[in-house]
């Protein structure tokens, strides 16, 4: 009986020690994981006014030229109303806005990729854009429910060299993979797209079609291919840490802020220089167009160090 008791107590003690060791090991694992997380998570900020002031006039002019954007808008005939709204609103501010469709539509013009598979379609669109870029060095991929303020995008990437690999937007993590979320818009520099073209030839690491039952979203596929090419996702934010690329639409964000920050709804919600809002209805897009490019309070000026002019033949901005 005594030996049983002793064994029991030994067991209890050893069990306790075992548990402690396990929990410490667990903590240790977490901390090492977080350090690798920080290593990859990059933030992209727009240049400050002071940084811009230091440049010469010709340098500023050069930057403005360099930051011209090729917009890749992925549409489908079933979302015709959204397609028409994007055509009529923000896409007019792209230096070149090209619509890529899954199948042709009699109503609107687009590059017909004749492709039902989402990832294959995105690939084809990116290839077409790369081949037809002309002298444009930045690429912006959007869905028809996304509203983008191209001037704010240009401001964000103004001092970035497109011959460096940039892949940015609303960067999120899924397991080990950090990717740029699709509905809030994807920004690629020329170098990033160039590396992607090379990756596309590698059917092993970056196949055009995956025949698995479980399909990874095309934004994650893109991130994976880019990762193999040494290009990593970065998050576009302002100096207050607010994300400039939003997957939610502005109304939902305000609703959320009314709950979270009832005494400071607008300041606590959305950034002044937002680049994108996802999930926008056509009417919301028309309202945002007016709100961004027309409506303002008299007597408040910003004297930004760069000027962007309204596009020709447009009546709603």
């Amino acid at each position: 009986m005594l030996s049983d008791g002793c064994s029991f107590i030994k067991g209890v003690l050893l069990g306790g020690v075992f548990c402690l060791v396990l929990s410490f090991l667990g903590n240790f694992n977490f901390s090492s994981e977080s350090s690798t997380e920080d290593h990859h998570h990059h933030h992209i900020y727009a240049p400050s006014k002071d940084e811009l002031k230091r440049l010469s006039e010709s340098q500023v002019e050069e930057l403005k030229n360099q930051v011209r954007v090729y917009c890749i808008i992925m549409v489908q005939p079933k979302t015709l109303v959204y397609w028409a709204t994007v055509l009529d609103t923000w896409s007019k501010h792209c230096d070149n806005a090209v619509f890529y469709t899954s199948e042709s539509s009699k109503a609107l013009e687009a590059v017909d990729l004749n492709e039902k598979d989402d990832w294959a379609r995105l690939r084809k669109a990116l290839i077409h854009a790369y081949e037809n870029a002309g002298d444009l060095r930045w690429f912006f991929v959007a869905q028809p429910t996304t509203f983008a303020i191209i001037e704010n995008l240009k401001h964000l990437i103004l001092a970035k060299d497109p011959n460096e690999p940039f892949y940015l937007g609303n960067a999120v993590k899924s397991g080990e993979l950090e990717y740029v979320e699709y509905s809030s818009g994807i920004v690629l520099s020329y170098e990033a797209l160039k590396r992607l073209m090379t990756m596309f030839k590698d059917e092993g690491q970056c196949p055009e079609r995956t025949h698995t039952l479980w399909k990874m979203g095309e934004d994650k596929q893109l991130a994976l291919c880019l990762k193999y090419a040494g290009v990593f996702a970065e998050n576009g934010e302002d100096r207050h840490g607010k994300g400039l690329f939003n997957k939610q639409n502005v109304v939902n964000m305000i609703k959320q802020s009314m709950q979270d920050n009832p005494s400071d709804v607008v300041e606590g919600c959305c950034p002044d220089m937002a680049v994108t809002y996802g999930g926008m209805s056509p009417n919301q897009m028309h309202v945002m167009m007016f709100g961004v490019y027309r409506l303002r309070p008299y007597g408040h000026d910003f004297h930004d160090w760069l000027t962007f002019y309204p596009p020709k033949d447009s009546d709603n901005d």
């Binding site: 548990c19 005494s263 919600c269 309202v287 303002r296 008299y298 004297h303």
Partner: protein, 396 residues
């Protein structure tokens, strides 16, 4: 049996030990997070106190009126023109509301556009010293609207006639861009007997202003309104508040002003922005026959310098505030350059941003908007100069 006993005991003990310590550790972790839960409720109380503190910075409460102390500014913004207008064109905003709406509607008015008024007074049927609201001694309901208006304007005249130049009436579902209202009013003086709003044409000779879209009386117009009731020229003719107001204004010789911008686009709006921009009102809709000036649908419905929208809900208030005062396109040079009101000049101010700018490109700018080919624009050709003039623009 004898050898099994201690072994089983050992294993049993091991399991018990592991389990006990696991439970113990979890409890410890819980206790660490529990104070955090208490912290969130504490944070809520702190939030509320912070709100009260901020309110004290925003307004000085005098009786039931809120006198603006610090109208909102943005970092990095040049608001000298807006500040100048704030000093010279003083606006008292009174908001028509009721006790049931305070938490659901009026509160959002308070935290958004009313912060841009010089003075704001919330008019209700019941006194509320905390919000604060003025009790006008009426009942609630649509049939009380003109009574409330009469009493509200009398209240404003009796208490604040010398503290403001213009007196705006708005509903608790009207969103007003007060800076743009100042831009319009700066072209007039408070001694003129005039009032502005969204002009409707029926039932009156000179038209009357839509109640929901808000309307603003000059000090002289307000004086004549009050005198009109004293002399019985004006009485409570009907509960249709905006029409009754229009009829009184006509009787006492107050002019119904034209609030459109220099491109003849409307500034006061009886519906929400979304409807004016996108809705196709059927031709049988009353709106078509009521508007004094020709209606434009689509982007020309509304001036860049719009002043008001009606039927704006709580979320809409914050959305309008975001679109007006916060969201913008970097470096964008707007097509419409609103003419500077007489007596105000951008040139007056020294160069706010010393140093070179995008001057070469500014000079290359083609004069905007004279070649606008919008067919929906009304017949009147746009005035020759929608700009201040290049000198003023460069003076920035």
């Amino acid at each position: 049996m004898k050898t099994l006993g201690p072994r089983i005991s050992f294993y049993a003990g091991f399991v018990v030990g592991t389990f006990t310590l696991y439970v113990f550790l979890r409890q410890l972790w819980f206790e660490k997070t529990l104070p955090m839960h208490q912290v969130t409720t504490l944070a809520r109380i702190q939030d509320y106190q912070q709100q009260l503190e901020e309110e004290k910075k925003m307004w000085k409460k005098e009786g039931s009126a809120l006198f603006n102390l610090e109208h909102p500014h943005h970092i990095g913004e040049d608001s000298r023109m807006a500040d100048e207008l704030y000093k010279k064109v003083r606006i008292l905003c009174w908001v028509m509301t009721g006790p049931k709406n305070l938490e659901t509607k009026t509160r959002h008015v308070k935290y958004t556009w009313s912060r841009h008024c010089n003075i704001v007074v919330f008019m209700s049927s019941v006194d509320d010293p905390d919000f604060p609201t003025v009790g006008l001694g009426t009942k609630e309901g649509r049939d009380q609207l003109y009574w409330k208006t009469i009493r509200a304007y009398h209240y404003a005249y009796e208490h604040y006639a010398d503290e403001a130049d213009w007196f705006l009436k708005a509903d608790d579902d009207t969103y007003v861009i007060v800076d743009n209202l100042r831009w319009i009013l700066a072209n007039h003086t408070p001694e003129e007997p005039i009032y502005f709003g969204r002009r409707f044409k029926p039932y009156t000779k000179q038209g009357y202003m839509s109640g929901g879209a808000g309307y603003v009386l000059s000090r002289e117009a307000l004086r004549r309104f009050v005198e009109g009731f004293k002399s019985k020229q004006c009485t409570h003719t009907t509960s249709v508040e905006d029409l009754a107001m229009g009829q009184c204004m006509e009787k006492v010789g107050v002019l119904a002003g034209d609030s459109r911008d220099s491109f003849h686009r409307e500034t006061f709006h009886p519906f929400v922005l979304e409807q004016h921009l996108t809705a196709k009102f059927p031709k049988s809709f009353w709106y078509w026959s009521y508007c004094y000036y020709p209606i434009s649908e689509g982007p020309n419905c509304c001036s860049d310098m719009s002043v008001s929208f009606h039927y704006v809900d709580a979320i809409g208030m914050y959305l309008m505030e975001y679109y007006t005062y916060h969201l913008r396109a970097f470096g964008y040079r707007h097509r419409y350059q609103p003419p500077t009101p007489p007596g105000y000049s951008i040139n007056k101010f020294e160069s706010w941003d010393a140093g070179k700018k995008d001057k070469k490109l500014e000079q290359k700018l083609v004069h905007p908007d004279l070649s606008r080919t919008d067919k929906r624009q009304n017949e009147d050709p746009p005035p020759v100069d929608g700009k201040d003039g290049p000198a003023a623009a460069e003076g920035k």
